[in-house]
């Protein structure tokens, strides 16, 4: 297995773990964490694609476009995570809960 293949599969694995966690946990902070792991997986796939050893041509330097895409993606993910965290803290301060109403047992709210 080449290093490239290894990183690609790691990226896919992280993606899957993040997705599974997001869908199955109730705690909001853990959901945010899961999304970050998911994002890390996607970024890893992108960076792996940029690797110069990918091809037998052996160019001198990696492809800069995925690097730029990941930099942008990280900043966007950090901003969104910060907003999600601030909202979660506010939600906890106002309601004392750490999960959304439909995810708690004994919730009175009728489902859609």
């Amino acid at each position: 297995m080449t290093p490239l293949t290894f990183y690609l599969l790691c990226g896919v694995g992280l993606f899957g773990m993040g997705l599974f966690a997001f869908l199955t946990v109730a705690h909001l902070l853990r959901k945010v964490l899961a999304l970050n792991v998911l994002g890390a997986g996607v970024f890893m796939v992108l960076i792996a694609v940029a690797h110069p050893d990918r091809s037998s041509l052996q160019p001198a330097s990696p492809d800069p476009i995925p690097h730029a895409l990941v930099l942008t993606g990280i900043v966007v993910a950090v901003s969104a995570t910060a907003l999600a965290l601030a909202l979660t803290c506010q939600y906890y301060a106002v309601t004392g809960r750490t999960d959304l109403p439909e995810d708690s047992p004994g919730s009175e709210r009728p489902g859609p």
Binding site: L35, G39, L83, T95, L100, P112
Partner: protein, 309 residues
């Protein structure tokens, strides 16, 4: 000296709401008259200018930064984009006119006037929508989608109630998931083809397994945002918790923007695999959505939830 091409109007349609939003963040309380009706009128003038320029010069591709795709990012300015830009201008503009009356004097929990926060959020949403409607680059679309999501979340939470907080969190988390699914699709496409431009991807695309998976990821992401059945469950609570002008924006625009993107991608990037079967599948989903909506509407109690369906 040629008459200004569609490109100039398009640039102004994105740059103007951006600059207005930034100014509103700093001195919004002094700009109320401008923001509430002068600027929306100006935006409508810009859209009219774009449409007129289009009818003179026809559909164009505008290279931002002067770099030709796939090196740079391109905009596709055509009739469909112009129509959506016009609809956006009318709806957001109406929301701007209505907003000062709706928010009159109310404050957030930290004693900031809500209307002062409404302006930067709304104009940034407007800029994001315009940027999204014009974009012809799949990664650029991802960034505009994120911009749109965050602006929408800010607008939802402005209502200030615990319900709106929960709705905003739900919307944000699902929106992020959708964007990341879309981004994985983009990553796979780039890995395979080395380009991010919709037109070039469309011409290069082969119908192999990787393309199918990338297409599915991107379209599922967009479906979540479009709230197309069966991904629709997040939409009604978001509407119920949001302030009234925001509800109008969400249902009329944000959701339709994702649908517009689905069309653009389907016919721009994936024409090779856009089979009649897929069109029938979408039609089937639409029919189910209507039936489901009718059943739920009969059971709904609050008016806004009704409208959302």
């Amino acid at each position: 000296m040629n008459a200004p091409g569609p490109g100039l109007w398009a640039v102004l349609l994105v740059a103007t709401p951006l600059l207005l939003a930034l100014a509103a963040h700093v001195i919004g309380h002094r700009m109320q008259a401008i923001l509430s009706w002068i600027a929306p009128l100006a935006m409508i003038v810009l859209v009219v200018g774009l449409i007129q320029s289009l009818s003179n010069q026809g559909a164009t591709v505008y290279q931002i930064g002067g770099w030709e795709a796939p090196l740079g990012i391109a905009w596709r300015i055509d009739g469909l984009a112009a129509a959506m830009l016009a609809m956006t201008a009318v709806i957001v503009g109406a929301s701007c006119v209505y907003a000062p009356g709706y928010f009159a004097g109310s404050l957030t929990k930290s004693n900031v006037r809500k209307i002062d926060v409404f302006w930067p959020l709304t104009y940034l949403l407007w800029a994001a929508l315009n940027a999204l409607l014009l974009s012809a680059d799949v990664f650029n679309i991802y960034v505009t989608l994120e911009l749109m999501t965050l602006a929408s979340v800010g607008l939802i939470v402005l209502a200030g109630s615990a319900d709106s907080l929960a709705a905003a969190i739900r919307y944000l988390l699902l929106g992020l998931l959708a964007s990341l699914l879309y981004l994985l699709g983009v990553a796979l496409l780039y890995a395979n083809y080395g380009v991010l431009d919709i037109a070039i991807l469309g011409s290069q695309l082969e119908g192999n397994g990787l393309t199918w998976v990338a297409a599915t990821l991107m379209l599922v992401g967009l479906m979540i945002k479009t709230a197309l059945f069966p991904m629709h469950f997040w939409l009604p609570p978001a509407h119920a918790g949001a302030p009234a002008p925001v509800s109008a924006l969400l249902s009329a625009l944000v959701v339709k923007a994702s649908f517009y993107l689905t069309l653009r991608l389907w016919f721009g990037v994936f024409p090779e695999i856009a089979q009649p079967l897929a069109a029938q599948f979408l039609g089937l989903l639409g029919t189910c959505a209507i039936l489901w909506g009718a059943v739920q509407a009969l059971r709904a109690e609050r008016l806004k939830v009704l409208v959302a369906y």
